[in-house]
Symmetry: none
Subunit: 422 residues, 2 copies
């Protein structure tokens, strides 16, 4: 069964509002193994709407229309739906009564123009909206089943979940089970991951398991979408492939599924009763920001110090050094000093030095970690503009810490760093 | 001239990725008085892509295609564009050379599958991508001009702005001059701004000047899009309206056009030879992050200390207090202590206390500022979930500092705070 999602309204069409309604609906259907084949956005004008309805009816078996059910004159969905289906608008008394009670319960009289919201194309099936004044409706237009839903996000979410989804599942008949298995890596580019995993899926399973990638730099997400008759079959299909994938992507795997790099680090620290402090320069507080957003237990994080200069970082922990090269050695000394002065078991220090060239720039990142297993160091040169290298440096620093607390080598090269000649 | 935006990729189609690329492109065109008439999303399969190209060519004069230019097998845009246009793919040596240098400059050999990114439909006009490996291209397909752009947001943004937009403007023929004047405010909600500015545009100018709002919480952007025969006319039209707008939005105006709140603060500090330190709790390093990203002169920012607990903030500046209520008084004392210990002329301290209720939560924010004009304090209760109130608290803290360094009152109420009964 093919499904189209059709979003209406000038706000969406002109990009004023980011179309999160589309994402919600599409995700909800996809998670339920329903096939979204097309997404359309059109403005609030009669001709565009009518054309879009007719084209969607040709492409899809079911169409979810979002928006255009409000009480004002520029809300045209009911009218154009009726025109396109060749039926009249009728007053649905049942909804008119709901509207009147809705206003009454709020101690107000229903404004006259809300009557419009009870006028539906003849033959429509009413879709309840328990939290708003716009009811939805379902109607056959040009051979496809159309589901009209309100544009207000929370009303749409509830109607899609409670009213539209069950109807679509019932339309689609008996269905398979599906699962999405995800791996988050750092340090492997999409093309290399593609090469590494070229032979992962045996030819005989290509219909049941699909391999896909999504780059959210600096992380790469590798996904296995599996479909089968039942959960046991999915497990059997996945098991050998997941084992192979884990071995091929190796230490670059930060975490899986809903885990995050930060949560892996903090969980590991919590498990051992450990704690952390950090200091950072051109990563600009991003290390602190990511850890602080993820912590559940205040005791895990003692302090993060952010400063644009190395002298001030040294001053902050009362470290006197004659020379202040931005080296990994200095980062490690700073980490040890901070750890001892704050009483945290671990400290992560990221020093950075931006080198701007004529056409490009690069960031020299020096990372020092101190903890119960002693000092660790890592240096890398990251090419790219400031925003880009800052993201990379933040990820690299957190990844080094993950490796340290997980007992993995801290200094494995990544695809995003420049080879060093020394 | 009618324009369609066609977004490709399973990630977009299935709602996994929210389609912010669409919003960016549509906004950019709309702000330049270009007419977006249709938005389409389709997956990465040959048939859907080909059908979408043909349908778009029927509806529009120009089509911007986003996504599908990557090096992997599921990136199909070049191939399907060539098929649909009835031409072959050709190797664009110019781009192949760029790719090779790109990898060389990073000390790596180009992976073989990247060659695919230099294969374009014969007759295409190459669109430069100075920051990535996917070049764009422009090509006539079925009577419409197609512009193919990469899916990576920052690459897309740059290509649309620098390559696609000028070509569209030139296609659209002789045009009036247009300008977009923008105001960024904090503390005024969209509906109140709409009321405040209801009579701003004189009826006789409604065709030439359009007033619009865009909420990027916590900031509100108020936009005047002006069209006229020439720049002088635009100036004449804008001048009285801008004056009135500035007076109506008053101190809530953080900055205008491309300025940012951070740049206003840092410029003001730089002008007076001043400097800054800060401390923060549940804003989680976001104050530090925003200031550090914006600074051009390292001397302006001495240090930022981030910690989840107030005790550790006090320890960090060697402040001993018996009681540690999270009050604005304590924030001011901490600010004075930090300023004196680091030698910065100013210090900003944001203490936060999250209060979770049964159905909602709120954040109590206590802000203290110390500087040459003495101490300032501000307390506010921000209702909402953690992510939301953290954004609000960060903005409020920076806004208080802006007001302090600009000689404006620090304690004007904002629309987003809860009225306090005491």
């Amino acid at each position: 069964m093919k499904i189209e999602i059709l979003c209406t309204g000038d706000e969406i069409l002109t990009g004023k509002t980011t179309n999160t309604n589309y994402s919600f609906i599409a995700q909800k259907l996809t998670e339920n193994c329903l096939d979204v084949v097309h997404g359309t956005s059109v403005g609030d004008d009669r001709n565009s709407l009518k054309q879009a309805f007719l084209q969607a009816a040709k492409r899809a078996d079911a169409v979810i229309v979002n928006g255009g059910l409000g009480p004002t004159v520029d809300d045209l969905s009911q009218k154009i739906a009726a025109d396109t289906a060749g039926v009249e608008l009728e007053c649905y008394e049942e909804w008119l009564d709901s509207l009147k009670s809705y206003y009454q319960s709020r101690g107000r009289k229903m404004p006259e123009n809300n009557t419009k919201q009870a006028m539906l194309p003849a033959g429509s099936e009413l879709l309840d909206n328990p939290i708003g004044t716009a009811c939805g409706f379902a109607l056959d237009i040009a051979g496809a089943r159309f589901f009209f839903t309100p544009g207000v996000p929370r009303e749409m979410m509830r109607m899609v979940t409670e009213q539209v989804l069950p109807r679509l599942l019932s339309m689609s008949g008996t269905r398979n089970v599906s699962r999405l298995k995800r791996f988050h890596t750092f340090g492997i580019g999409e093309s290399r991951a593609d090469q590494l995993l070229a032979d992962l899926i045996p030819t005989e399973n290509e219909e049941s398991i699909k391999l896909g990638f999504q780059t959210h730099y600096p992380q790469l997400e590798t996904k296995l979408a599996v479909q089968a008759e039942n959960d046991a079959q999915i497990n059997d299909l996945l098991e050998p492939i997941v084992a192979q994938l884990r071995s091929k992507l190796g230490n670059a795997i930060l975490c899986e599924d809903d885990q995050t790099l930060e949560s892996v680090i903090l969980d590991r620290l919590a498990l051992n009763g450990d704690s952390l402090s950090c200091m950072e320069m051109a990563t600009a507080g991003a290390v602190a920001n990511r850890l602080m957003k993820a912590i559940k237990d205040d005791a895990l994080l003692h302090q993060c110090i952010v400063s644009p200069t190395i002298d001030r970082l040294c001053t902050a922990v009362n470290l006197t050094t004659d020379a202040t090269p931005r080296s990994a050695e200095l980062a490690a000394v700073l980490a040890e000093t901070q750890s001892k002065s704050t009483g945290s078991t671990h400290s992560l220090v990221v020093l950075t030095d931006e080198v701007k060239g004529k056409t490009s720039s690069e960031l020299v990142v020096s990372i020092g970690i101190y903890g119960p297993q002693g000092s660790s160091q890592r240096t890398a040169i990251l090419p790219g503009n400031t925003g880009w290298t800052r993201l990379g440096a933040t990820e690299l620093a957190l990844d080094c810490l993950r490796r340290y607390v997980s007992g993995l080598p801290v200094d494995e090269k990544i695809d995003f760093e420049k080879a060093q000649t020394t």
